[in-house]
């Protein structure tokens, strides 16, 4: 039973770890109408979708689905129609490096390569871009255009707010809540609950961060606010003290408990009723040094001779099957005469 529990815990931990990576990917920027923006490998201007790995581990999106939702078309269940593109697993480039980006061109022809989807964004009815997990059902990221959105030539929409990426807030619903929703309701609820909403970009930044302002290193910001270093010195010394004082307090208390415990044990052992204080059992430095020295001399005296004697006995072994040539040589096959 214990082994089974351990196995289950480890399996759950493993599942948690493997699932976390893909959840870090988000649809970061979308350009619907590409007139003069970047060209693809075929020299053509295509609409594109940018995925961003917000995490600090490499993530493979191979096997996931990238999809779009049409506002004016419906499937058999009455939900808005979603067209999905399966991202092939056999391309190593689907693995996105930490804080890395991947572009997908949306020409509607997926025969051009892994990063070409089978749908196009240049359809006025497209109201949402969705990234699904490998099961094609669980949503990893949604990018919903606002109502009445009219694509402008070379104007990308993107997510801003890199500073808060690490605390990515993805709306989640319980299983029962999800069961009560239609697919449309679920997607709309997810889009409505997102912390970051798409907004028009001042400058298109395919395969790069959406933050176009110069990023000032943290140490420079620190210096600007604390040019002399006094705040840093006081704060950091305070933290060092806090850390070590915390250990001091814990071990002060712990030490007292241990002394009490030792004393009680000793008292019990000796059959005494009174608790023996630590002072009674302590030795002076000279006594400790003398005992240590005596022990050392004693141990050296014990081993001084043995450790320098090397005994080499001649081992005579006339025959051993391991070194026998008889067993090492392949026997010549006998020739049998008929």
């Amino acid at each position: 039973m214990k082994k089974l529990s351990l196995f289950l815990i480890m399996a759950l931990c493993g599942l948690g770890l493997s699932a976390q990576g893909v959840l870090n990917v988000r649809i970061n920027e979308v350009l619907v109408c590409n007139d003069n923006d970047i060209v693809d490998d075929y020299g053509e201007c295509q609409s594109w979708i940018e995925l961003f790995n917000t995490g600090y581990e490499r993530v493979n999106i191979g096997g996931c689905y990238l999809g779009i939702r049409y506002a004016d078309r419906f499937d058999a269940q009455g939900n808005k129609l979603v067209k999905k593109y399966y991202i092939p697993r056999n391309n190593p480039n689907t693995s996105i490096e930490p804080q890395g980006y991947r572009l997908f061109f949306c020409e509607g022809n997926d025969e051009k390569g892994t990063f070409y989807t089978n749908f196009t964004l240049e359809d006025a009815a497209v109201d949402m871009v969705i990234l699904y997990n490998a099961n094609g059902k669980d949503v990893i990221s949604v990018f919903k255009f606002p109502a009445g959105y009219q694509p402008q030539p070379d104007e990308a929409w993107g997510i801003l707010g890199n500073a808060e990426i690490e605390s990515k807030l993805f709306p989640t619903f319980s299983r029962s809540e999800r069961r009560q929703m239609t697919d449309d309701q679920y997607l709309d609820a997810v889009a409505a609950g997102l912390l970051y909403k798409p907004q028009p970009m001042q400058k298109n930044t395919p395969a790069a961060t959406n933050e176009i302002g110069e990023v000032v290193p943290r140490h420079e910001v620190f210096r600007q606010h604390d040019p002399a270093g006094g705040v840093m010195a006081v704060t950091a010394m305070g933290v060092v003290f806090l850390a070590l004082v915390a250990i001091f307090i814990v071990f002060k208390v712990f030490g007292k408990i241990m002394i009490g415990q030792t004393n009680r044990k000793e008292a019990k052992h000796k059959g005494e009723s009174a608790v023996v204080t630590a002072k009674d059992t302590s030795y002076s430095g000279e006594e400790v040094a003398a005992i240590a020295m005596a022990l050392r001399l004693y141990s050296e005296d014990l081993h001084v001779k043995e450790s320098t004697v090397i005994t080499i006995n001649h081992v005579s072994r006339l025959y051993s099957p391991w070194s026998s040539k008889i067993h090492g040589i392949t026997t010549v096959p006998e020739k049998k005469n008929r």
């Binding site: 840093m232 010394m237 250990i247």
Partner: protein
């Protein structure tokens, strides 16, 4: 072939010899190389003749010689040339791999008993980190960036691996100078510290006898690395690589059930990493990158940081004594040990203490702040990395 025939055999040989000469160290030598070779020889002299931190100064000194053999660029032999063997070994320094491994070994060799038996000594280890932040302020005043100042400041932590770890993250260009300064001053602890200790204390204070440490149970020894890790790393997670390995090494030692692992961590492993770190840090001091005005400033600020750290430790003990009862007072001569530099600074406490009272052995007591200094400097490095990294 045509050139050979047209120019004749002599010309061919001459041309080859000329090319060969162009590749030799003599042809590529500069004054900088010669100066650095002299520095390397001086380190070897200190390490071998005077036995000053020989484990560190000998590999570093020899590394300086290796790093400053002049050669023609592009032969894939220099430490900064991609693909060279030295560059592969340097990877461990550049990416901060060796320092945590050294900390693992330090943890496996360190006995925290002195600290556990008298936990108030822990605060001395914190006070002595004043040198780090004093040096940080000084470096800022000299015009270094905040990241560079943080990397220079850590010299005051008197801990080579910590200095390498932090400088590789905050100021990789200055790592060679910082590491050399840190190790040099650690070796010079017996020269740098005594006069400050004498200056800051009275004769009466130097004669203070401390209570012998109480015996420590195995439970306390086992609990220390676990509690230490949780308390320090919850507060400063950026110190995790160093503190995590330090406490793991100590747990291997104290648990009593992983003796083989503790022996390896505190023996062969730390020896191997010490050789590699010493050699590569030494070799990283190529004259072209090392002999700069900045390096000189690093050395000057580094010396000041050691002085401030020692001052901070000693003065804090005096301050602490104001609140302690007679009989519980701490000898301020162990304040210097808070700067880390294990075990040299503790030895200095012992030697100075014996000078004034032949029977007053301070070594055992000084080991408390000494190992607290290791924890303190790792925490300080974590804070600097967290703020400036």
């Amino acid at each position: 072939m045509m050139t050979f025939l047209e120019g004749g055999f002599g010309a061919f040989i001459g041309q080859n010899l000329q090319e060969f000469w162009g590749f030799t160290g003599f042809a590529n030598a500069t004054w900088g190389h010669l100066i650095m070779i002299c520095v390397g020889l001086f380190f070897l002299y200190l390490g071998i003749k005077h036995k000053m931190e020989p484990m560190l100064l000998v590999p570093i000194g020899f590394g300086i010689l290796i790093g400053n053999i002049p050669f023609h660029d592009g032969m894939q032999i220099g430490i900064y040339e991609e693909g060279s063997v030295l560059n592969y070994l340097y990877f461990g320094v550049k990416n901060g791999i060796y320092p945590p491994l050294i900390f693992l070994g330090i943890g496996a060799m360190t006995d925290f008993s002195a600290l556990i038996s008298n936990p108030k000594l822990m605060t001395i280890g914190a006070a002595a980190q004043l040198g780090i932040f004093g040096a940080y302020i000084a470096a800022l005043a000299f015009g270094f960036t905040a990241a560079e100042a943080g990397a220079i400041g850590i010299i005051g932590g008197a801990d080579g691996p910590t200095a390498i770890f932090l400088s590789s993250r905050l100021a990789p260009d200055m790592m060679g100078a910082i590491a050399i300064a840190a190790y040099s001053y650690m070796a010079l602890v017996p020269v740098l510290q005594p006069w400050i200790m004498k200056l800051c204390t009275t004769k009466k204070e130097r004669l203070i006898r401390m209570r012998p440490p109480r015996p420590i149970s195995k439970s306390e020894k086992v609990m220390f690395p676990i509690i230490g890790l949780l308390l320090t790393c919850f507060l400063v997670p950026s110190g995790l690589p160093l503190l995590g390995m330090l406490f793991l090494g100590n747990l291997l030692k104290e648990s009593g059930v992983t003796k083989r692992l503790a022996t390896t961590a505190g023996g062969p492993l730390i020896d191997i990493v010490t050789i590699l770190i010493g050699l590569t840090v030494g070799a990283s001091t190529q004259a072209t990158t090392f002999l700069t005005e900045k390096s000189l400033l690093v050395f000057a600020i580094g010396a000041a940081s050691f002085i401030i750290a020692t001052f901070g430790g000693v003065m804090f003990v005096k301050f602490l004594n104001l609140f302690l009862k007679e009989g519980n007072k701490i000898n301020p001569l162990i304040g210097n040990a808070g700067v880390s530099a294990v075990p040299d600074s503790a030895r200095v406490s012992q030697e100075i203490g014996l000078k004034y009272d032949k029977t007053n052995h301070l070594l055992m007591h000084a080991m408390g702040p000494n190992v607290a200094g290791v924890i303190g400097s790792a925490v300080a490095a974590g804070i600097l990395l967290g703020f400036l990294g």
